[in-house]
């Protein structure tokens, strides 16, 4: 494989990285002083205001993994991949204007989506939904370490796998340390720092990449490699209409209003009016988190394909290579490209921002899935079995223990699982195990009075069929190639909705009043 390049990454850049990470971790640990209750730990005492909420929401979503999978989409799809960011931004804006799903959730005062399941459908649905959410969420972040390792080796030029694995393990250990100690408060502070550094770094990197290649070369380069499908997202040789519909749902609605980590931001907001502002202003962040990295991916594509030998390796005979090593390299192309064009110093700053982003995404997600398991699975199950509640101290200990257990699982999974597809497509379909059912429960549960517990259980369980969209499972089931993970995801979503409606009509509930719980917003705040 002719894809070896020398990076400009130097000792100066390493120094910047170490100093920046030490600062970030130090601040995260310092935040431990502010933790006085479970609410402080999980939702920062519900005291996050508009600007900070926007910064942390964008900061959490504009992580290294997002940058990696988005740049890979730009590399493999060309300019047409921009449609993903565009629909993400538009849908988030609509959610902000209408308050669809997120405002009723904040009004109920829940901390997690399964908590809403209990209020609306009963404790059993909460435990089942929490379990599915945690499984899907942990699988979804299963490739984060791999993406991080590819980023480090691509940007720094480190080829030794052992060294990279030790670096990634050390980063995870640091994340575990400050997330366990500082909870959501440390997450908010580190997300803010990362938002500032990474946003500025990304803008500068895009400016330098643009200066290196110029608009005309970019357009002509993409046209020569991808043709019309590199520009028109509706083109059937590229993404096609069904993929766009899938993106409206996943990159759009799910990412901002159904995915637990984003909903946690809404739940942390001071009021429903802050929730609306948060979503309206964050819409540009949701757009840009795809657009800028995709642009860097396109720049990397055109830059490397200047060399005919590299182009033949990546696109033998004009079609994308099926070699798994080349597929992995498409994920690494953007950092390798940055290692080629960025000057010393700026390279260190970008690496710092990206690694801080990597840690920031991990802290948000680890905290999120650990709190779902402790608060929505173990604690309610314990209450049902014993009739007693766990003390706050025990729940905090449980959350912290689960963070360590999940971290250990991620180390194992990222080494074992063969990716086999674009990272973004893996994430969408692994997340679908949860969000196809959750979509039905949220939309119908919040806006349709007749939605019942039986319908909710049916919809949640039907989401498990999304597993058939994962690459190794599709191969095992010998599904025909024209049935893509997109089709599996869309079919599972439709099935969950139909099942929920049908079962709700067939097996209705006795009416359960929607009672707000601790942390609910008082009446009149969103008049």
């Amino acid at each position: 494989m002719n894809l070896e390049f020398v990076s400009h990454f130097s000792a100066v850049d390493w120094t910047i990285v170490v100093a920046y990470l030490a600062l970030t971790v130090g601040i995260g640990i310092w935040a431990n002083r502010a933790i006085r209750s479970m609410s402080d730990y999980l939702v920062a005492g519900r005291s996050v205001r508009s600007f900070l909420g926007i910064a942390t929401m964008v900061g959490s979503e504009l992580g290294l993994v997002t940058v990696m999978y988005a740049s890979q989409k730009g590399f493999t799809g060309g300019f047409a991949a921009f449609h993903i960011g565009l629909v993400a931004g538009i849908v988030t804006l609509i959610v902000g204007f209408t308050g669809f799903i997120v405002v009723p959730l904040r009004r109920l005062g829940v901390m997690t989506i399964p908590e809403y399941y209990e209020i609306r459908f009963g404790r059993g649905v909460r435990v089942l939904g929490g379990l599915l959410l945690a499984v899907a969420g942990i699988l979804n972040m299963g490739m984060f370490l791999k993406a991080g390792a590819l980023f480090v080796s691509g940007l720094t030029g480190l080829g030794d796998t052992n060294t990279i694995q030790w670096i990634m393990t050390a980063l995870i250990a640091l994340v575990l340390l400050y997330t366990i100690l500082g909870g959501m408060v440390s997450v908010v502070i580190t997300d803010y720092l990362q938002f500032v550094v990474l946003s500025i770094g990304m803008l500068i990197a895009c400016g330098l990449a643009f200066r290196e290649l110029g608009w005309t070369e970019l357009v002509e380069g993409v046209n020569a490699i991808h043709g019309e499908s590199g520009f028109n997202p509706l083109h059937t040789e590229g993404f096609g209409p069904s993929y766009i519909v899938w993106q409206i749902f996943t990159a759009g609605l799910v990412s901002c209003a159904i995915w637990q980590t984003a909903v946690m931001r809404a739940c942390s907001a001071e009021s429903t009016s802050v929730v609306r502002k948060l979503y309206m202003f964050s819409s540009i962040g949701f757009l840009i988190r795809f657009l800028l990295p995709q642009f860097l991916g396109i720049c990397a594509l055109v830059y490397f394909c200047r060399d005919p030998q590299v182009r033949e390796t990546l696109f033998p005979g004009g079609v994308p290579s099926g070699d798994p090593a080349v597929k992995d390299w498409t994920l690494q192309a953007m950092p390798v490209f940055l290692g080629q064009i960025l000057p010393v110093g700026l390279l260190g700053l970008i690496a710092s921002g990206m690694l801080a982003a990597f840690m920031s995404t991990h802290d948000s997600y680890l905290l999120c899935w650990a709190s779902v398991l402790s608060e929505d699975v173990v604690h309610p199950a314990y209450r049902t079995l014993t009739g007693k509640s766990l003390t706050m101290k025990t729940r905090l200990f449980l959350s912290r223990t689960l963070i360590v257990v999940i971290g250990a699982f991620l180390l194992f999974w990222s080494l074992w699982y063969p990716l086999g597809s674009d990272l973004w497509d893996y994430m969408a379909i692994s997340g679908a195990i949860y969000f196809t059912g959750a979509f039905a429960l949220l939309v119908l549960g919040l806006y349709w009075k007749r939605a019942s517990r039986a319908g909710a259980i049916g919809a949640l369980l039907s989401g498990l069929l999304a597993i058939a969209g994962l690459d190794p499972v599709r191969k095992e089931l010998e599904l025909p190639p024209w049935i893509t993970s997109t089709h599996v995801g869309l079919a599972t979503t439709a099935q969950a909705l139909i099942l929920m409606i049908a079962l709700s009509l067939l097996v209705p509930d006795r009416p359960i009043p929607l009672l707000p719980i601790d942390g609910a917003e008082p009446e009149g705040n969103d008049s």
């Binding site: 205001r49 942390t56 300019f79 408060v185 908010v188 946003s199 202003f281 962040g285 657009l291």
Partner: protein, 66 residues
């Protein structure tokens, strides 16, 4: 192709410009919010315990006659 190239170029340009403004405003405003958050949490002013929905200047006013 020409239409789509122009469309995506314009989308990228406009979004980047708006993002520059958003980063500047949010970085400054966020810092002030962060200070206020830490002050509140360190003071431990949570009269309602877990999940206290204490009002803030960002909240909408209560309904008339409430």
């Amino acid at each position: 192709m020409s239409f789509w190239a122009d469309f995506w170029g314009l989308t990228l340009l406009v979004s980047s410009l708006i993002f520059v403004v958003l980063v500047a405003v949010t970085a400054i405003g966020g810092f002030a919010d962060l200070r206020s958050l830490m002050r509140k949490l360190l003071a431990g002013d949570e009269p309602g315990g877990e999940g206290d929905p204490s009002p803030s200047p960002d909240d909408d006013p209560p309904p008339p006659g409430g």
